[in-house]
């Protein structure tokens, strides 16, 4: 199972690799990282069969996370992959828009990894 993390912050990769080092080592999950919406779509096209979950930031230069969600749902009308929106903006409007566009969950930063792990295991 592969999880695609989309965020313009490059350090997100180090954080996930350390936080899920056991899962990575045990090969429970594999993580793919993209630093923009466009890069995520490219990556998705290459490894679409393995990615079961997309964790995407909303506020990114260029294509936003919500736009990425809209496009993903354009390609895949239903999960897989699931799409979790991940953002510092927990406002109601973004949440509603994400729901309308077909997001499966909405997580706020800072990331509550225990909660995330539970959801991943689910």
């Amino acid at each position: 199972m592969s999880i695609l993390v989309v965020d313009d912050e490059t350090d997100i990769r180090a954080l996930f690799e350390q936080k899920f080092r056991k899962e990575i080592r045990d090969k429970a999950f594999t993580f793919e990282f993209a630093h923009s919406g466009e890069a995520a779509l490219e990556l998705l096209k290459k490894t679409d069969s393995n990615i079961i979950l997309i964790l995407s930031d909303i506020n990114m230069p260029g294509m936003s996370g919500l736009e990425l969600l809209r496009r993903v749902r354009g390609i895949y009308p239903a999960a897989p992959p699931k799409v979790f929106m991940l953002t510092a903006y927990g406002d109601k409007e973004n949440r509603e828009r994400a729901n309308v566009l077909g997001a499966d969950d909405f997580l706020t930063k800072p990331i509550d990894f225990s909660n995330l792990k539970e959801k991943l295991h689910e």
Binding site: E9, D11, A14, L15, Q18, K19, R21, N59, P61, G62, M63, S64, L66, E67, A88, Y89, E93, R97, K109, P110, I111, F113
Partner: protein
């Protein structure tokens, strides 16, 4: 006229008894006996013809009292002789007799062969005839023979070179001798009332002259008084001249000159009279007027043109025409009920009545009373009735004008008092207004001063508010920017904590390799925590710098980093502020941009403002919703050129209309809805770039396509 009338009247009483060619006088009436019968006449000259013994039976009979123009012999020969033989009652030889002499020519009078008088000068062979018209009352004593036939012989000649005129129907008698007893002659002369009436006329016309002159002086605009004054003056002179002529002038030439002057003066007086009449009623001058004026000016010619009718044509007719025109005008004025017309009309009626009476006396239809007094009165009343009426009218008019003047004067005084009162009131009002104005000016000045201070204060506050507004816009961006590093700090700290637990476990297990790996990661995490901590610290520091009010110091600044930071802050700030805001942005920064010496917080404020505007513009365009494939985008670029450093901030937003492009740098100008913009952002930015950094800030924009702001900084 009067004299002639008297003459006619006297002629009516005859005391003659004529037997064959001999006249017998048996009585002499009190008014005298005109010797107009029994005369013989012979042309030529012979001293013998004066003698009593000369037989004149062959001579032609003649009445010498007729007009001398009717006796042709007078004009055909140099000299003629008149002879009268008469007898008197014996009683007359006891009485002193005399003759009143009237003549037109020169005469030498002989009684019974002796010359008893001469009047004028009969020409000798080399001389000329000097005609005499003896003054009134000129008498000649008649020393009669005690008995028998008395012979009066008159040597007579006319002065032919004079322009004789018939003045006022007074015939120029050749020779008239009126016989009186001396004792009655004095009474006759004293009973002549003519001087009294003459002097009455003088007095009246002097009064009229003075009054109308005074009235004219009083009111020079009223020309009627001037004309009437001249009329009265002319008439006065005429009366005076006539009186002088008949009482004091013997010389015929002088008399003719005077009487001609009287006629001309009379014409001028009539002219003044008709002028006065036209003035009184303000009658328009038409044909009648001009005809009359022409007639009056040329009428004097008739005097010398026609001996018999010259006076009637030249003066009487003119007078009648003037009276007729006066009557016509007065009648018209009466019908129009013009003031004064009735008075003058009554004067005219008076004239007609008295003039008619005069002629009734003149023609002896009714007796004229003793000494012809009623005739005198009728003539004088007719003569003065119109002038008196006109004078009464003018006096009344003057009185009316005077009354009106008094009333007007009162009105003027009243108005003056009112005007004065109003003027004082105005002055008071003006003074009050001035005082009020000065007070208001002082108040306004104070208010303006306060307003200026308030304005300056407000301006300072606005500038600060603009900063704070920009800061407000930043807050959300800053929050996001701080949130991210803080999240990393938290997450890496949390992970590190877990890894320390794992490290301890692995140490216990003695798994050195794993311990090494965890330690490396821990080290990496600590670096990350340190990095993101510093990152957050830097953001806070920048925020503090931005809000600082004191002028900052110029320092060497990495402009690209500043552009990057501001772009991101602006973007995130707007995202937090504007719901659903989404835009692309890109940085096209020069690779080797040198450090630029500038006040970084000021430059940051400019960049933030420009980025905010750019994102706002693209958001606005997107909200229009008319562009289907519209992708909002903001691009920031920097480059180095010959002049210095150029920063371009471009957007594909709504653009700025050309008309507004000159205004956008003006203070308080904003296109944003009320409450969204202070209108100071671009103005402050412009000042920071141009005054603070000696650079330039300009705009290039196409409405509906986008805007590019260009910052040009000198290379320092």
């Amino acid at each position: 006229m009067r004299y002639f009338t008297l003459f006619l009247l006297l002629c009516s009483h005859s005391a003659f008894a004529q037997k064959q060619d001999l006249l017998h006088i048996d009585s002499i009436p009190p008014q005298g006996l005109v010797l107009n019968q029994g005369w013989k006449m012979q042309a030529g000259d012979d001293p013998e013809w004066a003698k009593t013994t000369y037989d004149d039976s062959q001579w032609a009979s003649i009445d010498p009292t007729q007009d001398f123009k009717n006796i042709p012999q007078l004009w055909e020969s140099k000299t003629v002789w008149f002879r009268l033989k008469f007898t008197v009652d014996s009683s007359f030889t006891q009485r002193a007799l005399a003759c009143l002499v009237a003549q037109t020519g020169a005469s030498e009078i002989f009684l019974n062969g002796k010359m008893i008088g001469s009047f004028g000068k009969i020409a000798d062979q080399n001389g000329k005839v000097v005609a005499f018209t003896p003054r009134k009352g000129t008498s000649l004593g008649l020393p009669l023979h005690r008995t028998g036939v008395q012979v009066l012989a008159v040597r007579f000649a006319v002065q032919k070179n004079l322009p004789y005129i018939v003045f006022a129907d007074r015939r120029n008698v050749a020779l008239s001798l009126r016989l009186f007893e001396i004792k009655t002659l004095g009474n006759f002369l004293l009973n002549d009332l003519t001087p009294y009436f003459d002097f009455s006329g003088f007095g009246l016309y002097i009064i009229l002259t003075v009054i109308h002159f005074a009235l004219f002086r009083f009111n020079k605009k009223e020309k009627t008084n001037l004309y009437f004054f001249l009329y009265a003056l002319g008439t006065l002179f005429s009366l005076f001249l006539v009186s002088v002529v008949y009482r004091h002038v013997d010389l015929a030439s002088t008399k003719i000159l005077f009487l001609s002057s009287v006629c001309i003066l009379g014409g001028l007086s009539l002219f003044c009279f008709i002028q006065a009449t036209y003035c009184i009623f303000k009658t328009p001058k038409g044909f009648n007027y001009w005809f009359l004026i022409l007639y009056l000016f040329f009428s004097s010619i008739f005097l010398f043109y026609n001996y018999n009718h010259g006076f009637n044509l030249g003066f009487n007719l003119a007078k009648l025409l003037v009276l007729f025109e006066t009557g016509r005008i007065t009648w018209l004025a009466t019908r129009k009920k013009q003031r004064g017309a009735r008075i003058i009309f009554v004067g005219l009626i008076g004239f007609l009545v008295f003039y008619a009476l005069f002629y009734l006396f003149y023609w002896r239809y009714i007796p004229a009373g003793p000494n012809w007094i009623w005739g005198h009165l009728a003539f004088n009343f007719s003569f003065i009735s119109i002038p008196i009426a006109v004078s009464i009218y003018l006096a009344l008019e003057s009185s009316f004008a005077s009354q009106t003047l008094v009333e007007k004067l009162k009105e003027v005084e009243l108005l003056s008092q009112r005007s004065l009162a109003q003027e004082q009131e105005k002055q008071e009002i003006l003074a009050n207004q001035n005082e009020t104005l000065e007070r208001q000016v002082a108040e306004r000045t104070t208010e303006l001063q306060q307003s200026l201070e308030t304005l300056q204060s407000t301006q300072t506050q606005l500038v600060q508010r603009e900063k704070m507004a920009a800061l407000g816009e930043l807050t959300a961006g800053i929050a996001h920017e701080i949130q991210n590093p803080l999240n990393f700090v938290n997450n890496f700290a949390e992970v590190s904590s877990e890894m320390v637990d794992e490290l301890q476990t692995e140490i216990t297990r003695g798994n050195t390799e794993e311990v090494q790996s965890i330690a490396t990661d821990l080290k990496q995490n600590l670096d990350k925590i340190n990095h993101h901590g510093k990152r957050a610290s830097s953001i806070v520091k920048n925020m503090l710098e931005h809000s600082r009010t004191s002028p900052g110091q110029k320092t060497a600044t990495d402009l690209n980093a500043l552009i990057d930071e501001c772009l991101r802050l602006s973007y995130h700030g707007l995202r937090s502020q504007i719901k659903g805001f989404q835009a692309d942005y890109a940085l096209q920064l020069a690779d080797q941009l040198p450090l630029v010496t500038l006040v970084s917080q000021d430059m940051g404020r400019v960049l933030l403002n420009l980025f905010n505007n750019a994102f706002y513009a693209v958001d606005q365009r997107q909200k229009l919703g008319v562009y289907k494939d519209y992708l909002p985008k903001v691009i920031a670029s920097s480059k180095v050129n010959d002049q210095g450093i150029e920063i371009r901030i471009s957007d594909n937003g709504t653009g700025i209309p050309i008309a507004l492009q000159d205004k956008i740098f003006q203070p308080f100008f904003t296109t944003k809805p009320s409450g969204e913009g202070t209108g100071l952002g671009l103005s402050l930015s412009y000042d920071i770039i141009t005054k603070g950094h000696q650079g330039n800030l300009r705009v290039e924009s196409v409405e509906g396509h986008g805007t590019t702001f260009i910052i040009e900084l000198p290379r320092i």
